[in-house]
Symmetry: C2
């Protein structure tokens, strides 16, 4: 289709859209804004289009009290406002690429019919993974993807008086469901196969989340997996056995293991499927068939940082992809820039956010030979100046290229203001910025909102200091702890409450006068509580000709590192 | 000085710093981190260095209860941790550039002495403006710049039982003081010479602030100025007369008219002073004397957007300038990138933030011939999706170049999340981004934090749609309201509660069927409540060959425009 859509077109292109939630709905309305003449039809298997699936856990938790609030737009609105034909409960059965037709089953009437297209948009989303475990079909085992799912969970809780729930999976949905169930008075256990929750984060950033979940009464079973479900003695009770041999009893199970792209129709139609199991599209969101575009959870897209293919089941990218597909269908050559995987999750009083790539992904690339040399730094700070009341703690991990300082990714956990810092860094990444740009950026400062040097500036400064060689950093997990002097520059009172084995204590304020106590032929690894005083100390030592490295994140990171070690034993 | 500071140096450069608050303190500690051998001395006229002047209004308001919290660093800490000699209550009397010496008076002992320098850092800050009005020296008339200032105000409130305060000036300090005094039960009047508060913002963005101040019980006297102060009958009472002939009675007056760079010493020493009354520095923060650097409120710097010289008395830039001066003093050729003037202020439940340049500045440049062609768009939205409880309203004004889409500035007022959006746009500006980058940026989304299309994305989309010609925008103040059809596409119920004179009402959902009612030879200006439905309508009309423009910000902006007109009459 070559109509640029700017002035409308003379033909009446027929555009069919399979799936009407985030990407499909976004594509449809953009199509209409670009072309009044296109005939646009959305086929949605479920009963609703354009609903707020990110709100479902909060509907279960009664935070969102009215189900109707989840309906962002109705078929009636699509019809009236956009002249778009929305057919809910109409399931597409097959795609005939040769004749450019799809076959649809009307689930209300049972009728099967065909529709032809000039352009087809494939946007069926993804489906929650239900592993083929014994007992997986027992009543009381739920997934959460649709409004009816959430309604069933609510009804089950109400009717069965659920007291104990087991959540399988510690990702976004798992954590959000944990919070919402606890708020409803349910006792929650999370079983997670990995040794950490929130698998998009690195292990070192997941530790504070583990502690926060436990502090809020959630039982965590990490590094374990469900092996079977059986009906318990009470009839309503489910007994859950795990591979490690544990048994749990629950009144309800939520499967939150993840989602799988819904590619059945695409595969049957012979569209190219990518290495990550999603429909492969080009930068215009066009599939291997020139008349078919695909968007949302069902496609795989390129990682903005690494260029590798990834599945990112997130609403933001789905919406952008839908918009870009619409542009290209109507002849505008707009490119999708790839996905940074910016994501956020709140669980109890903790906000968890990340953008760009993680250290674990970079390590995997290292193994596969497509490596990006990187370094990381940690910042433990507060969301605004401490002198103003109610500042909350925040930890930022910043990952950057050692070649040119380009920002590769950031992760943050804490209370308020976590979203802001990750959004700022996300914008920086979008513009291929470096840690030197973070040093210089000029952010809002009043005492309630930040600091004259915002955490984003400070993270950039720590990274830039490392890159320039002014303050090389070391990390607990790979520093030469045996061969080096370990210098703790905190005050003696802090040192006495806990320190690293073999560390010697010279408080920062005494260091200039006590340099003679250090063996000048050995490397000194300096740490303090969080890394600031040790930074000052490392500068001091380096200028006196002593080889020093600052252990990023200090004793706070040491505690995390020890916890990771003990968790994995 | 050519020492690059990386490995320390063999000489012992003597570096003297005049003024030890934000810029000076930041410069001093950076110098030490770069050079262990430098002799660094700070001369501070007042009793404190490195104090939190941004916290002073909150100390007056009892939000910060303990005065000690305002002391970020003490002379003892500077000495012990950084080997920096801090001399408080030591006032520099003169600079002898020829002999590279300064003359200092010890205000405690009265002794006058000289110190020589290799490098001098001029960082005296600014002083509050006290206009030479009759009665200006009466007791009870305060400025707020130092800890002793805030202490005196607190004492006056406590001892005199202040019930009515008059604040002269509606900028940052004026508004923050208004809030803090109201919270202490004081009845507050603000007299502001301009027709708006927060002069860094455009008039259209100040209107909601006016309404919020009034809603919180503050009396606003805009477009008026104090002409005299006289002692009232009660002895403690001050009578304030204004140019318009009004009289106010107050128990206390706060002068918050602004600050003036403290350049007396610099002028006497013959340093170049710029057109804005600040010390002129190059991009390395060096003055016209190669041995003297200057930072903070006393200098003028280049506007990041327009390149023109500006005074920006803000803590963030002062800190960065101090750091950059230190780098350059020690031989590192680091450039200051200029100032975006990112700023934020909270007043009651409203957050006000801005970055980059304003429309009024761009209009002034237009007059001076150095014009940047620009357009603006308004977004009235909420800080997160409406389906999640407690979303708060937010208005964003985005200003951008019509030449290339470069973002020139943004202003936002609202509740939560205003700081985040301005910070993201600030980062975008720092990287010379365009509105097309805002369209594409990938920000955090969960229901508590934003939307799948964040307000920043939407603002970028509105602007990009205008630039591409997809949805040209018009504005109430310069649209051809008389010659055009004014089309209100809201629902009849909304139309009936108030609309623009001569507007015709065709709800968006009926527009396709009622196109025949429009005279196709006339331009149609479309509006709705905030601009979204009218955007859809303008696309529809354009595709049907009808010349249409969307009035940005819709009826909300109309109400603001009418209020500006009535305020200025």
């Amino acid at each position: 289709m070559n109509d640029n859509g700017k002035q409308g077109d003379s033909g009446k292109p027929r555009i069919l859209i399979i799936g009407g939630v985030a990407g499909g709905a976004s594509c449809a309305t953009r199509l209409r804004r670009l072309s009044e003449s296109a005939e646009i039809t959305i086929f949605e298997r479920g009963p609703y289009v354009s609903f707020a699936n990110c709100g479902l856990p909060y509907y279960v938790g009664d935070v969102i009290a009215d189900e109707k609030k989840l309906l962002v737009a109705t078929p009636g609105l699509f019809r009236k406002r956009f002249n778009i034909d929305v057919r809910t409960q109409n399931e597409v059965l097959s795609i005939d690429r040769h004749s450019q037709e799809i076959t649809i089953k009307n689930r209300k009437t049972g009728a099967v019919y065909n529709e032809g297209y000039d352009a087809l948009v494939f946007s069926p989303g993804s489906s929650p993974i239900r592993p083929p475990l014994p007992g997986i079909e027992l009543p009381g085992i739920f997934t959460l993807r649709t409004i009816p799912d959430s309604r069933q969970i609510r009804e089950w809780i109400a009717q069965r008086g659920v007291e104990r729930a087991l959540i399988v999976g510690g990702g976004f949905i798992g954590l959000e469901m944990a919070e919402n169930l606890v708020k409803r008075g349910v006792s929650v256990t999370i079983v997670e196969m990995l040794s950490q929750v929130m698998p998009t984060l690195d292990a070192d950033m997941a530790v504070p989340i583990h502690n926060h979940l436990i502090a809020n009464g959630v039982t965590l079973a990490l590094g374990d997996a469900v092996s079977s479900f059986t009906e318990g003695p009470g009839g309503n009770i489910i007994e859950v056995a795990t591979k490690s041999g544990h048994k749990y009893t629950a009144d309800m199970v939520i499967l939150a293991i993840g989602v799988r792209p819904e590619i059945g129709l695409a595969r049957e139609a012979g569209l190219e499927i990518g290495e990550r199991g999603g429909v492969r599209v080009d930068e215009h969101m066009r599939t291997s068939d020139q008349h078919i575009w695909a968007v949302g959870d069902a496609v795989e897209v390129q990682d903005f940082i690494t260029g590798s293919w990834i599945n990112v089941p997130l609403a933001g990218p789905a919406n952008r992809e839908g918009r870009i597909a619409a542009d290209n269908i109507l002849g505008r050559k707009v490119k999708f820039r790839g996905v940074q995987a910016t994501a956020i999750c709140q669980v109890f009083d903790m906000t968890i956010a990340s953008t760009g790539t993680s250290e674990k992904v970079l390590k995997r690339s290292l193994k596969s030979g497509q490596s990006i040399p990187y370094e990381k730094v940690f910042l433990h700070t507060r969301h605004h100046v401490e002198y103003y009341p109610n500042s909350t703690p925040m930890t930022i991990k910043l990952i950057f290229s050692t070649t040119d300082g380009r920002i590769l990714g950031a992760q943050a956990v804490g209370g308020e203001g976590v979203d802001k810092r990750i959004d700022v860094i996300s914008m920086a990444i979008q513009r291929n910025s470096t840690v030197f740009d973070l040093e210089q950026c000029e952010l809002c400062y009043a005492p309630q909102f930040g600091a004259a040097k915002d955490p984003v500036n400070i993270a950039g400064m720590i990274a830039a200091n490392a890159l320039r060689g002014d303050a090389p950093v070391a990390h607990w997990e790979n520093a030469d702890l045996d061969g080096s002097i370990i210098l703790d520059v905190r005050e003696p009172g802090e040192f006495d409450t806990g320190h690293v084995p073999r560390a010697i204590n010279i408080p920062l304020g005494e260091l200039r006068g006590r340099l003679g106590e250090l063996d000048r032929n050995r490397q000194v690894l300096v740490y303090c509580a969080v890394g600031q005083r040790s930074y000052y100390a490392s500068r001091l030592l380096l200028q006196h000709g002593i080889q020093a490295k600052n252990i990023s994140g200090g004793f706070s990171c040491y505690a995390v590192w020890k916890q990771i070690q003990s968790d994995s034993h």
